[in-house]
Amino acid sequence: MNIILSAVGGTVVLAILAIFVGLFLAGIDRRIVAHMQARMGPPLSQPFTDVKKLFAKQSIVPANAIPWLFNLMPVVALASSIAVLLYLPFGSLAPILGDAGDMILVLYLLIVPSLALVIGGFASGSPYATVGAQREMVSMIAYELPLAVSVIIIAWRLMVANVANPFSFTTLMETSVWDVVGPLGIVGLLILLILFAWITPGELSKVPFDTPEAETELAGGILVEYSGRNLGVFSLAQAVKTVAMIAFGVIILLPWNLSPVFGLTGAGAAAVDLVFFFVKVVIVSIFSVTVVRTMMARFRITQVVKVYWFIFGGLGIAAIILLMLDAFLMGGL
């Protein structure tokens, strides 16, 4: 009983925290983009205002949409993004669901919000949304390859270093990959860091990988028919997914905590690590989403596939080779 209660309470707290952090991230993002374009930009609270406004507006269901799918999908997207967070450790706080899920599960769960978007797009019965949904599927197929490669190679390297349960997040909390590899492996991990930084905007449909939403040619793509509350729920889902995706990258590749440096223990350590964790999330989001999105224009969908499969796929293979050589030299094999 107590376990269930604490899981439910934890989920609610985590969901509110994630929505808050996600919208805050979006505010920082818009503000920095504005500064890079030599303007003032909106106040940090703008995303909160936008969502509040969307919830107060009328929600239209188009005449040729499938109403139950159309209305259900925003909720599915939000719920699945929150579900990802239940399996992730934040700083030195263990995941709410403990060891019930591992990295592979999170990889699958991260696809669900995009799938919900795709189904919602098809269900809205607009040709723009249909084209957008098809593009979203293609870009999902494109970025999944380098993402899966990097996750699996890290787990493999941990396994070779005789770490038990390499896919589990609790293992990742205790052992960082950076500690088990030698010099060659560090180069490989740096490549994986670059890979992750480029997969993040793809996963989140941000410029230059926002081809499914393409405002100029598809008028908002998948979301074209969504209005009012449904659009608001989708933007909350997007905010939570941003936190989840960046947190996933931070846990795997930037796992350091501050508490050992200060020699803290107990609740103090957890609080310091949690704050430090979110600081890392903000910094990663600035570098891999905001700066990239200001500098670049949108890729065509064929270019998205080419970039992810050939350039980042190639980089992934380079990282695999480096990490394997490293394992060989370090005597793990």
Partner: protein, 143 residues
């Protein structure tokens, strides 16, 4: 539909060209440049009428566009504001004697704010947006 204070601080704009000469549209684009930066006030250009709170219409309405204009207006989620930019939309302007006009915009859809000028300067367009916000606040107060 209930009006809330957050609407004023987050106006999303959809731009509709009902047969203008493109002069007004260029001025609208100029309004969105970093020099004027309307995003400071939460104003954002969106690609779909479903997302929009403000419909920015330019140009006299040609016969072909009249029905499209009505449909785009109907596609917007309430509460919504219509803003006419340019003299054309108010009276037909230089095109007023054309054989192909379905009439000024306010004969097709209800209009809330007019911004006169051929073409109006960006300052005038921003003033129009401020007027629209003031009107929303007035409606919100129930006056």
């Amino acid at each position: 539909m209930k009006l809330t204070p957050s609407l004023n601080r987050s106006l999303w704009v959809f731009h509709f060209n009902a047969g203008s000469c493109n002069g007004c549209d260029i001025e609208i684009v100029a309004t969105l440049t970093p020099r004027y930066d309307p995003e400071r006030f939460g104003v954002k250009l969106v690609g779909s009428p479903r997302h929009a709170d403000v419909l920015l219409v330019t140009g006299p309405v040609t016969n072909q566009m009249a029905d499209r204009l009505r449909r785009v207006y109907a596609q917007m989620a309430g509460p919504k504001v219509v803003m006419v930019v340019g003299t054309c939309g108010q009276s037909g302007g230089v095109f007023s004697t054309s054989y192909n006009l379905a009439g000024p915009i306010d004969q097709i859809i209800p209009v809330d704010v007019y911004v006169p000028g051929c073409a109006p300067r960006p300052e005038a367009i921003i003033n129009g947006v401020v007027t629209a916000i003031a009107k929303l606040e007035r409606l919100e107060g129930g006056k």
